[in-house]
């Protein structure tokens, strides 16, 4: 247990450093925007007869930093705000703190991506086992090829093809927004039905684009395990096929779980293209909007949140592996 605690402490320290690094990067990117828009705005407000203090506040609201003072002073301000979870105020949504905008958008990203990931994971591993066992046959071949193809096609191409097929040509499903605005939000059938209906195509796009990776990974993992001696030994001892199968599945799925934990790190930032195509109001959609509106505080905040999610998932993946794989655990304790 102390071992896991020690690992966790190390990971958290590294994750903390990473977040500081990313915050610093976004600070300097925003600070280096050509033409120094902050100074220009400040000068302009002064010219319009605003008091220096009021002008400074106005510019701080716009960009999240003080417009004057030394660079280090501004930097310390920014990082200090970060510790208080103060990410500044959004410009494109006047008066709303960035943190509120982000938490509101996060649910639109997390739920569909989670659903898409789990769906593709389940289908991918089941078909992956099948493709590995029947790899000489026609169907196994077809499964592998479908995996390679779907793995190779960019997400946005897949999304657009689905829109063309299911929305433009047949009109079966909606492909715009997250819910029909005609319905009253709440726990009524119309609203929930509309939510689900709007989520089908984004989730399907995500699942299809992720499925290729899972089936290929599971297939190669099963093929490796199939060649192990203990499987042969189990077969020679005349074990039931179902038990042998359980041996195979348990060993082959281990590396896949790590990949699953890692892919959950993309929960927050993995659906940028899908959200753009389906006009789905998640974090990626928010980030694109912030970049287009030059809403720097919101942009920096969204980028930071997405990165923090990835870092967290990396930590979880590593700890998870320590917990579920006895080999890693004993290996660590022996050393």
């Amino acid at each position: 247990m102390t071992l896991i605690a020690r690992r966790l402490a190390g990971h958290l320290a590294r994750g903390f450093v990473m977040i500081l690094v990313v915050a610093t990067i976004s600070f300097f990117i925003i600070n280096n925007i050509p033409g120094d828009p902050m100074a220009a705005r400040y000068e302009k407000l002064i010219e319009q007869g605003m008091a220096p203090e009021a002008a400074r506040q106005a510019v701080k609201v716009l960009y999240g930093f003080q417009p004057d003072g030394s660079l280090w002073q501004q930097y310390a301000d920014f990082i200090g705000g970060l510790f208080r979870l103060d990410l500044g105020v959004s410009v494109s949504r006047p008066g709303t703190p960035v943190l509120d905008v982000l938490t509101d958008a996060a649910k639109w990203t997390v739920l569909p991506v989670l659903a898409g990931t789990l769906l593709s994971f389940l289908v991918g591993i089941v078909l992956g086992v099948y493709a590995a066992v029947k790899r000489a046959g026609k169907l196994g071949d077809a499964l592998s090829i479908s995996g390679s193809l779907l793995h190779g096609i960019p997400q946005y191409v897949l999304g657009m093809l689905l829109v063309v097929i299911f929305a433009t040509l047949t009109g079966l499903l909606p492909a715009d927004g997250s819910v029909d605005i005609l319905y009253e939000p709440g726990w009524n059938a119309g609203y929930l039905g509309s939510l689900v209906e709007h989520a089908v195509l984004p989730v399907l796009t995500y699942a299809l684009s992720a499925y290729g990776g899972w089936i290929l990974a599971m297939k190669s993992s099963v093929v490796t395990v199939l060649g192990d001696d203990f499987i042969l030994a189990a077969e020679l001892r005349g074990m039931k096929r179902s038990i042998v199968f359980r041996y195979i599945a348990r060993n082959a799925i281990l590396p896949l779980f790590t990949m699953l934990a890692l892919s959950l790190g993309l929960l927050l930032g993995g659906a940028v293209f899908i959200e753009k195509i389906f006009n789905y109001p998640g974090l990626g959609w928010l980030l694109i909007g912030a970049v287009n509106d030059r809403d720097y505080a919101l942009m920096g905040g969204a980028f930071l949140l997405i990165t923090a999610g990835t870092i967290l998932a990396n930590i979880i993946a590593d700890l998870f592996y320590t917990v579920i794989d006895p080999r890693v655990r004993s290996g660590e304790e022996a050393s």
């Binding site: 990313v22 280096n32 050509p34 433009t168 293209f273 969204a302 990165t307 990835t310």
Partner: protein
């Protein structure tokens, strides 16, 4: 003595080379699909190099035929200015392929250098470099590109390729380091070291050649990555529209011509989509063929 030796090694090397090309030819012929990959790829390169030269600087527009569905005159229809979609795809291919080439070059050179150094020297520098690589791999690439779009001008292929290359070497560095670590324990490297050969000789003449196919495959894979990212970035509409790129076409087709609402503009959407799919397919086939040529376990002797 050296006079007799040199021709011998020379002819041995040329025989080896001849055998290699014969092997390539055999693998290609056995599965014609791989030949198709090479042919498509060559076609794209020709299109990017020669295509824009054959077309006028400003494509002729036709206000009388805007956003037309495919017809005999315009095989994939026309855009909202009445320009031919296929001509637009050809024009856009130069930006896309040049960027991809620059990205792949930077990715491979930086990634290989860092991976080799890290794996060969080991010790403290290895730890530092790999920590850095891990950190770089943790930062999600697409969101970072979006943030960069506010400060960096992606107007020319060079600007785009430079950024994509400098963001993309992490994976190659890790892979090359792993290969170096496993190769440096092999007999032929130990023999070279025992002979007292210089480090430059060991790295340049022994390590690199045995890793070359592996690196070349990584290079092709980073080409697909570069195509997706740049087209995607333009598609998201965060960059200025003035460049000729398939992503600009996709963005205009979807968000201005309304290709998702009216079937009339479908051709405009399909042009760049088909180009991306074909290019992906070609690269997948070529990587597959290279895998078979260089990976002895997969060879069907």
């Amino acid at each position: 003595m050296s006079a007799t030796l040199i021709p011998e090694t020379g002819s041995a090397a040329s025989a080896l080379r001849r055998n290699f090309w014969r092997g390539v030819w055999r693998v290609m012929r056995r599965k014609p699909s791989r030949m198709v990959g090479v042919v498509i790829l060559a076609g794209f390169v020709l299109m990017a190099v020669l295509g824009p030269m054959l077309l006028p600087e400003h494509l002729p527009d036709d206000p009388g035929a805007i956003t037309q569905p495919p017809s005999w005159e315009h095989w994939l229809g026309t855009d909202p200015q009445g320009r031919d979609v296929i001509a637009l795809v050809v024009k856009g291919s130069r930006y896309v392929l040049l960027t991809a080439a620059i990205t792949a070059l930077i990715t491979v050179v930086v990634g290989t250098a860092i991976g080799l150094f890290s794996g060969f020297r080991r010790g403290r520098w290895d730890t530092v470099l790999m920590r850095l690589t891990d950190m770089k791999l943790t930062i999600p690439g697409l969101p970072l590109l979006l943030v960069l779009a506010t400060v960096w001008r992606f107007g020319s292929p060079w600007q785009m390729g430079l950024v994509l290359g400098l963001l993309g070497w992490g994976g190659v560095a890790r892979a090359v380091r792993a290969q170096t670590l496993s190769l440096r324990e092999r007999g032929f490297i130990e023999a070279a070291r025992g002979l007292g050969l210089s480090t430059t000789h060991i790295i340049g003449r022994e390590l690199l050649p045995s890793m070359a196919p592996y690196i070349a495959m990584n290079m092709l894979i980073s080409v697909t990555g570069a195509v997706y990212s740049q087209v995607g970035l333009f598609f998201l509409g965060v960059l200025p529209y003035e460049s000729d790129n398939w992503g600009v076409m996709l963005n205009l087709a979807v968000f201005q011509a309304g290709a998702m609402i009216t079937p009339n503009a479908l051709g405009y959407l399909l042009g760049p989509l088909l180009a991306i799919l074909l290019l992906t397919l070609a690269i997948v086939l070529v990587v597959d063929a290279m895998d078979e040529i260089f990976n002895p376990r997969l060879r069907e002797e």
